[in-house]
């Protein structure tokens, strides 16, 4: 006969708090929600984790011996935050050693220029609160519009530059947060955490008309 669920779960919690593996048995399936909540709380209590140097070294050794093709494209290298000089983006780099490419500043997100594009009315300027982001759609273009001052607006894409997920406006933190992974961006599209080497969000063209309407360049 198995142990009582509170004892089994506490054993799992105790192991997790000691940094041990999850050692589960079939009967623990009844408490899967409690167990996964415990694992997430333990992780949350420890902050964002990075690979231990020894593990990183082991993983590097394993990757060196794993079969791999030429999977890394120039675009991938850029998005991965390698920071290739802008002039190198458009030509002449194939075959050049990556060792010559030092990490550099993150690229600013390229503008979204739909073709054919058209200006789409997304509301009155007064509908936008200064300092707050508002999700709008201009045809196929999704964007967050920010009223940066009483008379000006800016806009960035609503799609994360890392995983293709819809961002959400976290008004409390003043950031655009990705629901798919730990990434967030400032209203100007720059990532809040430079450690992950994310590229900035794509810029979206936006304007205020003479009649006080906000228009976004969409489709």
């Amino acid at each position: 006969m198995g142990k009582r669920p509170e004892n089994r779960v506490d054993k799992i919690v105790s192991d997790l708090l000691r940094g041990r593996r999850l050692r589960l048995r079939g009967e623990d399936a009844d408490e899967k929600e409690a167990i996964t909540a415990a694992a997430r709380l333990v992780a949350a209590g420890q902050g964002v984790q990075r690979m231990h140097p020894a593990f990183r070294k082991r993983l590097a050794a394993a990757l060196e011996t794993a079969p791999k093709g030429g999977w890394l494209t120039r675009r991938a290298a850029l998005v991965a935050g390698l920071g290739v000089a802008a002039g190198a983006v458009t030509g002449g780099l194939v075959g050049r050693s990556l060792d010559t490419l030092a990490p550099g500043p993150l690229a600013r997100g390229v503008p979204v220029n739909p073709e054919p594009g058209r200006w789409v009315d997304v509301g009155a300027l007064t509908d936008f609160t200064v300092g707050q982001g508002k999700r709008v759609t201009a045809g196929a273009v999704g964007a967050f519009v920010f009223r940066s001052s009483p008379t000006t607006v800016t806009a960035v894409s609503s799609i994360c530059s890392h995983l293709p997920c819809e961002l959400w406006w976290n008004g409390g933190h003043g950031s655009l947060d990705c629901p798919c992974h730990p990434a967030s961006f400032k209203p100007d599209g720059q990532p809040t955490n430079q450690a992950y080497g994310l590229v900035a969000l794509n810029q979206v063209s936006v304007r205020v008309t003479s009649t006080g309407r906000v228009e976004v360049l969409g489709t």
Binding site: D10, L16, A37, A77
Partner: protein, 184 residues
């Protein structure tokens, strides 16, 4: 039913500007790039299993499964998307094996589901928001146990209760925490 993701297809990303394939003369350089991508995967996995040994094993599985299958010419978004799809698959298999459940049973509520909450905030803040959704007693027992590292005895003393009662309360609090949704 397999949850194994297929490798990113070249034709799916044709419009993304797949780019020319860089020749990678130094293996260590491409490995360093892969490791940077895998740091994200590691953090993602760790946040779900809560311990280093399992997170390391699963991250290595993701690396060994995904990296060799990435196609030449795949853009970064496809590479990262594929790594995370593989991570979800590996996590699903992990929970499935450990709990003796089919991956179909796990699909909706565990590793495979996209988090409903805002995971971009600091983990401690996320924990705080979960705890704030609980009743006072449940919040207190989880705070003491998970955020302050109290033993059961210490929690019992702090809450003027017994170890047995705290164990039961801890289990009920975790069940309740699993139901807290961080949508707002």
């Amino acid at each position: 039913m397999s949850t194994e993701p297929g490798p990113p297809e070249g034709q799916e990303v044709a419009g993304e500007g797949a780019g020319e394939v860089l020749e990678l003369p130094a293996a260590s350089r491409s490995t360093a790039i892969a490791l940077d991508e895998l740091e994200l995967v590691y953090a993602f996995i760790y946040a779900r299993v809560g311990n280093r040994p399992d997170a390391e094993d699963l991250t290595q599985q993701v690396a060994m499964k995904a990296i060799p299958r990435l196609r030449a010419g795949a853009p970064a978004t496809a590479i990262r998307g594929y790594l995370f799809a593989t991570a979800r698959s590996v996590l699903g298999a992990f929970w499935s094996t450990r709990l003796g459940l089919s991956e179909v049973e796990l699909h909706e509520d565990l590793a495979m589901a996209i988090p409903a909450g805002p995971p971009s905030e600091e983990p401690a803040e996320r924990a705080r928001r979960i705890l704030d959704g609980l009743s006072d007693n449940y919040r207190r027992v989880l705070e003491l146990r998970f955020l302050h590292g109290y033993s059961l005895k210490e929690v019992a003393a702090e809450m003027r209760s017994t170890v047995g009662a705290v164990k039961v309360m801890q289990l009920r609090a975790l069940r309740a925490a699993a139901k807290v949704r961080l949508d707002g």
